[in-house]
């Protein structure tokens, strides 16, 4: 696994920002927030995001076009991601449940395709918002 020390300057800046965020961040919001650190162009952000996704440090929330840090310390590369997304406050929680991931990868293996990875997004109201 690639250690964080091996990340490049831009990758570190952007990972740091995402890890400190309380919720998902969008690419152009990231860009805005790192301008003072010398990152000026969308492509610089997208390149760092691509790399961070590749090594499993962050995930993309596909339905939101937003990015979150991986909360699953032993998840090296993201082959199996699941999230709970609040439709009211847009809070995102990473679901990490071994039984779930085994169930799903097993399901995929039996499906006839050569399975590589999956992404699952649950939508609803989070504990706070459902009150």
């Amino acid at each position: 696994m690639q250690k964080q020390e091996n990340l490049s300057k831009n990758q570190k800046i952007i990972l740091d920002l995402i890890e400190k965020s309380s919720g998902p961040l969008k690419a152009y919001s990231i860009l805005f927030n790192v301008k003072k650190q010398g990152i000026k162009a969308p492509l610089q952000v997208y390149r760092a995001l691509d790399k961070l996704i590749e090594i499993g440090k962050i995930h993309k929330i596909e339905s939101r076009n937003a990015f979150v840090a991986c909360k699953n310390s032993n998840c090296q590369v993201s082959k199996a991601t699941a999230f709970s997304i609040c439709e009211s406050c847009e809070d995102v929680t990473e679901v990490s449940n071994l039984k779930l991931s085994k169930y799903l990868s097993n399901f995929a293996d039996k499906s006839g395709m050569k399975y590589n990875k999956y992404n699952l997004e649950f939508f609803g109201l989070c504990k706070n918002c459902k009150k």
Copy 2:
């Protein structure tokens, strides 16, 4: 359930196109294909897509920003969608498996959130491409 006869003109044109397509269609490709039928602007397409999604006639493949017809005739409104996506040919197959959907909705109900719906995307190589 809203019947197809109740769909508006634009909605019918766009649903018809998507149902006849062999794979997922992107919004601007839809736009291009329906120009001859008088639909000229992106918003006209997106409005029809929103409605068709709402009534469960089509689904959005979030990771691809593309749209497919619902193959699940008894799926009135899409609260539980799952797809297999080929990373080589980009073919998409809707997965409809009652055990899977029960497992996932049950999982979500126990998770603490007020569960509304989920979307699951499997990635890999389809039967043809894995050869």
